[in-house]
Subunit: 180 residues, 2 copies
Amino acid sequence: MTVTEPVARPLSPRDARLAPWRAFLEAHARVSRRLDEELRAEHDLSLAEYDTLLTIAWSPDRRIRMRTLADSILLSKSGVTRLIDRLVADGLVERRTCLSDARGAEAVLTKAGLDRLRAASRTHLRGIDDHFLGAMDPADAAAVERAMRRVSERVGGGDAGVLGSWGPAERPTDRPADGS
Amino acid sequence: MTVTEPVARPLSPRDARLAPWRAFLEAHARVSRRLDEELRAEHDLSLAEYDTLLTIAWSPDRRIRMRTLADSILLSKSGVTRLIDRLVADGLVERRTCLSDARGAEAVLTKAGLDRLRAASRTHLRGIDDHFLGAMDPADAAAVERAMRRVSERVGGGDAGVLGSWGPAERPTDRPADGS
DNA sequence: GTGGTGTGGTTGACGGCGCAACCATACAGC
DNA sequence: GCTGTATGGTTGCGCCGTCAACCACACCAC
């Protein structure tokens, strides 16, 4: 009631306003698939694994609680357990018990994990630039970002700010001592 | 220092230009999950199933070749086979042999399928309006649509690029051929 | 302390999807 | 007609993810 009614009539299945939604779905399917393929081909990492390594790398001390990780990458608890299992099997992260909470487990990035992440970043960031950002001018990119943030906030479903607050000077332990 | 400072500055892992990309990923995960839940709860349909029914409904005669369907909804051939299996089991579509091509199969919408689609549409279109379109003003929606279309075009003139269609020569950018 | 409740994480069962192998048919070329 | 190649669709298998059940521990009340 406090909200302005979005539409007076229900959307028709053919309503032109569906266009942004369908374009969004298609673009996501195509671009995420493409980036996943590139990552797998060059670095044997899935998109989810890459995001996981990145999230750990950004965390203080390059370690993170499983639960926090699940919230960050929008995966279920069991999904995280299994994803970390794979990364552990590959030697990219280690599983440590949490010092301050005996129930807890933490995922810690290994040197191999950091190296792999750095290598993959070159591929991945270039891919994002080529396939995603490169397709839009700065104004549209800003609009996309703004719209996407608001979608996340509105849908909520959980804490919408988990990923939403990362910024240039955001803190954590420095980023990997990258050459550049 | 193995630094090879590329001419065009590569994205840094923390580059602010990543913001639109990550916002995009998060928004997709949240909103598609939400819409999927709503559809399942109210109409026992997944988002993919809904899209499939809709695609069939939009096709001439409400029937469509499997291959065409696969291209439309961006699913593999086997994925389509199984998705249609489920819809057939639910009585929402029928599988017919193609008259003009004995190899082919067509999916045809049943009356039950049409009814289910119509019912689900009310839920779904309202959801899109509430969770997606409602989060952005018309100008941003237009920008999103424009950007998303360009992303799809750029990435993939089709699924062709499975592997191998993108090679090192495709981009003359930096990338110190690995190993170096 | 002891008991009750909440939370972190793992495991088992299961489902959706992709890939590759496979069969059937179409469509040359002869 | 026959043969070789391309294409449509299904099936076997494996990966990856969720959900629900479960255990271990935290934390509060007493």
